[in-house]
Amino acid sequence: MAATEEQPAARTTGDAVVAHDLTRRYGEGETAVDALRGVSLSVRSGELVAVMGPSGSGKSTLMHSLAGLDKPTSGTVEIAGTEITGLSDAMLTRLRREHIGFVFQFFNLLPMLTAEENVVLPLSIAGEKPDTTWLDELLGRTGIAKRRTHRPSELSGGEQQRVAISRALVTKPTILFADEPTGNLDSKTGGEILDLIRSSVDAYGQTIVMVTHEARAAVIADRILFIADGLIVKELAQASTEDVLTVMSSLTS
């Protein structure tokens, strides 16, 4: 395992994710819904990108397509240089193992495993042993070093999300997808989680794509993509809460 300072060069230069002209249509005929109508984007290594949009805008579909959870109707997605839209299930699984991390709105921890077991689960699944130095460092940074042996039911929501973030970071993925990571947390805890997400970018150079509908979450991003009716309609860099709210209200009005 590479230590913090020894991030592979590829991560700091070039693009972690590239999407080209993505469309996604659900259903057929008259009831068909176009969730994505031609989205292109690229995410640089070490960049934190937020995807914002009102409900039904297509932001979740975009993330699912980027992460290989859903197959776009047309268009291409490249992760770490690999075109993923045509991959078999087994190859996609391998790609997830090596290059993708997930953080979910509802944490999705396994209730029967302890915090630490949950964190190292991606390694266990791959049949690998965790690097203890790295693990200690990670758990220290995410603030759950003292909660290692607790089960999810014994943890607060914030702690659970910290475990989930540690789980996503433990494999040092090329790209981490976060789906409404603060959606199920109160604002104070949510703020702490956002700090943690930001710090993982700053400390580890982690590339992150975060889907959110909260302005205060979006502002931690290096770049914010606004999506409405299946299209990217606006892009802001290092925006303030006011800027974000202004764009959002223009989208929903």
Partner: protein
């Protein structure tokens, strides 16, 4: 991943327990059966070896027809003159002749001391002679001497509180005689042989009692030192009369062991078949439970996929979970089976059927088979759920309410189900009606066919559930109001789940319906036959309704004032056209008490048989092309051949013939058979059936406690007792699979309640009472059980028709009352199954339930 599977299992202990229960019960039955039969086999083996410990060769009576499996099948005796010839042989060191026969002990109440189906054995001893051959050992008193003494076995003595010096009755060839107990004995080191009572007399007394003066039933021979048993046998062989045979003691013990083992193997296979049924039902229960679990774990499984788990890893984790459940359940079942065997043994002892005491045999085979079957069955059940688990898409980790897409459309399911049923029926028909196949092949075809029918109907059930639940749930909407209506809706909303739970119950109910319909047909036709045949006032039968008995009680009844006719039917075995047949003997007055239809000849025919006449049944005549005047040669157990002429052919009523395949005159019968016995006799008395006549006849039978009289309706009832006992035994054995299916319903409901937590919380929040929640669950359970009944009972009836046709069953009657009882039982079963889930649902905290996700 292993850890995920194992820890997941730990987190769902109740579910795992309920899932494994089916395997525990099925495996317990397998292991219990093996332990029980192995233990009995080993005990008998020990006894037989001990009995012949000091004997080198055994001469015994030889049934010319081969080994008998009939009650009346004591081998013939042979002339006692053989003994001195054997003693003179140079190889013989010592030889001892003896008598063995059957006799009942009669207790202080004047009734036969019951061996609960085990026979009353009688032996002779030589009180003053060489005791080296004597298999008996005295535990008290002395050997019996003279015509007034006997010894009895220790088991009978202790059970009935007899001691040395007491008087006990014996019924053998004539009326009861009283003897003084001189001693108490054990045989082969054990106090009882499966509950058989034993009466031991000195040699001359035994010969006299059994009318065997000048005859012997066995000779034990010891060889001179240095002579091998095989050489001894070779020397004895040329001396033997046709009714005797000689074997080495080892071969004799092996033969005796083989005979008991033969029976035990059938018993063993019979019980194992029911264990198989239970496990088959278990497959449905486990598959359904695991399948529901997979559905409920959709998010968890999808999360594993997003974290990089391959499909096969997810599949393996479900299989591993099942494997662990299967292993734990099988081990538990194995040991519970051990306890079960001990419990059954205790039950037998309680019933008076003491099996020879010996250490419990826990064979490696028992362990291997029990564990292997349990684990394999669980894994097989998990194959489908494990496959479904691989269909969980990773995106389900983020998408609320993602549903697993069904693999087949409704139409496809219907086609597959109908094809399965058609194939199954075809297979069963082949098994039932193609005579060219061996018995094993036919049983296999019928068994696999039946299993496939159940599978097909279970598949079809998914389609049938919505309409069935609609109809069967209608009462629920009337009785349960809103709760009932919701219950009906809930039963319909996941048809495959309801179908699987109901299908498990269907199997048990179909099988009990099958046996009930067959038994009912048997009883109806039997009653019809008795109504036609029975034209007497009373019947005379053995106390146990089936054993043959000597002619002496009939003779005693003849002396009762007012009795016009007492006519018995002698029964024995013979061999004609190369196969074994039942031979009966009648006298001329049988026409007054038994009526049959004559195809050739008349009611007068039995009186005109003479020494060489015989009559036969229509079917037997047809099979062997017999007509009036045809000659027929019948070999008797002593090896003689009777050359007979057919003088009549009768058409027995459906449901039972009063006579065997060939019937001769009583007079000829008594000349050919060593110990002629009646299977039943019929009595006509002036005034017919009255209380006074019954009392008179019963009184005349006092000295014959092994016989009793019965009116026509009593006779029917008595004869049906056997069917009823068998039916009850089958019900008990099948109830195991019904219990397993109930656990399936419990399991489904518990999981459903768990899944609908939020919904139940919502219902409670909008004003549903706890009582209504419980009622809703109960109604759903009853609807599920009723669907099981609605599927199972028709399938059972169809199976009964098919099987009935195959075995040329005389009649087909549907026992509507019994079936109504089954339906009510299904409702009760549904109520019972709902207890735990309803309580859980009722206890849900509204607020927590609403926040549950």
């Amino acid at each position: 991943m292993t850890r995920v599977a194992l820890k997941g299992l730990l987190g769902r202990k109740l579910r795992a327990f309920l899932t494994g229960l089916a395997i525990v019960l099925g495996v317990a039955m397998i292991s219990g059966t093996y332990v029980l039969t192995d233990t009995i086999k080993s005990a008998f083996g020990t006894v037989f070896t001990t009995v012949y410990a000091k004997t080198d060769a055994v001469i015994s009576g030889k049934n010319a027809l081969g080994n008998s499996n009939n009650n009346n099948g004591l081998p013939p005796s042979f002339p006692a003159s053989l003994l001195p010839k054997v003693e003179k042989l140079p190889a013989v060191a010592a030889a001892s002749g003896g008598i063995s026969d059957l006799a009942h002990l009669v207790g202080r109440d004047g009734k036969v001391i019951s061996g609960h189906g085990a026979p009353g054995l009688a032996f002779s001893v030589h009180p003053h002679g060489d005791q080296r051959f004597n298999p008996l050992t005295l535990t008290a008193g002395t050997w019996p001497v003279g015509p007034h003494q006997l010894d009895i076995d220790a088991n009978t003595a202790s059970k009935n509180h007899y001691a040395v010096g007491d008087t006990i009755g014996v019924i053998a060839r004539g009326p009861v005689q009283q003897y003084t107990i001189a001693g108490i004995v054990k045989i082969g080191g054990v106090s009882s042989l499966g509950g058989a009572t034993m009466a031991i007399f000195d040699f001359p007394t035994a010969q006299k009692i059994f009318h065997k003066e000048g005859l012997l039933d066995g000779i034990d021979v010891a060889a001179k030192p240095g002579i091998k048993p095989a050489e001894l046998v070779k020397e004895i062989k040329p001396l033997l009369p046709p009714t005797a045979q000689v074997r080495t003691a080892k071969a004799e013990a092996e033969q005796a062991t083989k005979d008991t083992n033969g029976f035990l193997s059938i018993f063993n296979d019979f019980l194992l078949a029911f264990a198989g049924v239970a496990l088959f039902v278990g497959v449905f229960v486990i598959a359904n439970t695991l399948s529901i679990t997979v559905t409920q774990r959709t998010r968890e499984l999808a999360t594993l996929r997003t974290l990089g788990a391959y499909k096969r890893q997810v599949q393996a984790s479900v299989l591993m979970e099942a494997g662990v459940i299967g292993a734990l359940a099988s081990v538990s079942g194995l040991f519970i089976g051990l306890g079960l065997a001990k419990g059954l043994n205790a039950l037998f002892v309680h019933l008076g059927i003491d099996l020879p005491q010996a250490g419990t045999v826990f064979a490696t085979r028992t362990i291997v088979v029990s564990l292997a079957v349990g684990i394999i069955v669980t894994l097989l059940s998990a194959l489908w759920p494990a496959f479904r688990a691989t269909r969980v898409p990773p995106v389900s980790a983020v998408r609320e309410g993602a549903v697993l897409q069904p693999l087949l459309s409704g139409q496809a399911v219907t086609s597959v189900a109908l094809a399965t049923i058609a194939g199954a029926v075809a297979l069963m028909l082949v098994g039932l009606f193609v005579n060219a196949l061996s018995t094993t092949q036919r049983l296999l075809a019928v068994g696999v066919g039946a299993a496939a029918i159940f599978l097909g109907v279970a598949l079809l059930a998914k389609i049938l559930v919505p309409p069935l639940a609609g109809v069967l749930g209608w009462p629920a909407t009337k009785i349960g109001g809103a709760a009932g209506a919701l219950a009906r809706g809930n039963a319909m909303r996941n048809p495959s789940r309801t179908a699987a739970a109901a299908a498990a119950l269907m199997i048990g109910l179909a099988l009990v319906t099958l046996v009930s319909v067959l038994a009912s047909g048997l009883k109806t036709t039997f009653e019809g036959a008795v109504n036609k045949v029975f034209t007497a006032d009373y019947a005379l039968t053995a106390t146990d309704n089936f054993s043959p008995f000597t002619a002496t009680p009939a003779t005693a009844l003849k002396k009762v004032p007012g009795v016009a006719v007492v006519s018995g039917v002698r029964a024995g075995e013979g061999k004609a056209f190369g196969s074994r047949i039942g031979v009966t003997g009648v006298s001329g007055d049988i026409d007054k008490v038994v009526t049959v239809n004559w195809q050739a000849g008349s009611q007068a025919t039995p009186g005109q048989l003479g020494a060489n006449g015989a009559f036969t049944s229509k079917d037997y005549a047809k099979k062997h092309h017999l007509s009036l005047g045809s000659p027929i040669a019948v070999e008797t157990p002593t090896g003689k051949t009777m050359h007979l002429v057919i003088k009549g052919i009768f058409a027995p009523p459906k449901g039972g013939s009063p006579y065997g395949d060939v019937t001769i005159s009583t007079q000829r019968f008594d000349r050919e058979y060593q110990n002629p016995q009646d299977i039943y006799a019929f009595v006509d008395i002036a005034g017919g059936v009255t209380a006074a006549n019954t009392a008179k006849l019963t009184n005349a039978l006092k000295p014959f406690p092994d016989a009793k009289i019965a009116t026509e309706s009593q006779f029917k009832k008595n004869q049906e007792q056997g069917i009823n006992t068998l039916l009850n035994l089958l019900f008990i054995l099948l109830s195991l699979s019904i219990i397993i299916s109930l656990f399936g319903i419990v399991n489904t409901l518990v999981l459903t309640v768990y899944e609908r937590t939020r919904e139940i919380g919502m219902l409670r929040a909008v004003g549903m009472t706890r009582r209504q929640v419980r009622s809703m669950i109960r109604h759903e359970s009853i609807v599920t059980a009723l669907i099981g009944a609605a599927l199972g009972i028709p399938v059972g009836i169809v199976l009964a028709v098919m099987v009935g046709r195959a075995i040329k069953y005389p009649a087909f009657t549907v026992p509507w009352v019994t079936i109504l009882v089954f339906v009510i039982a299904a409702i009760v079963a549904g109520l019972v199954a709902a207890i735990l889930p309803a309580r859980r649902a009722g206890r849900l905290n509204v607020l927590e339930a609403l926040q549950y996700e």
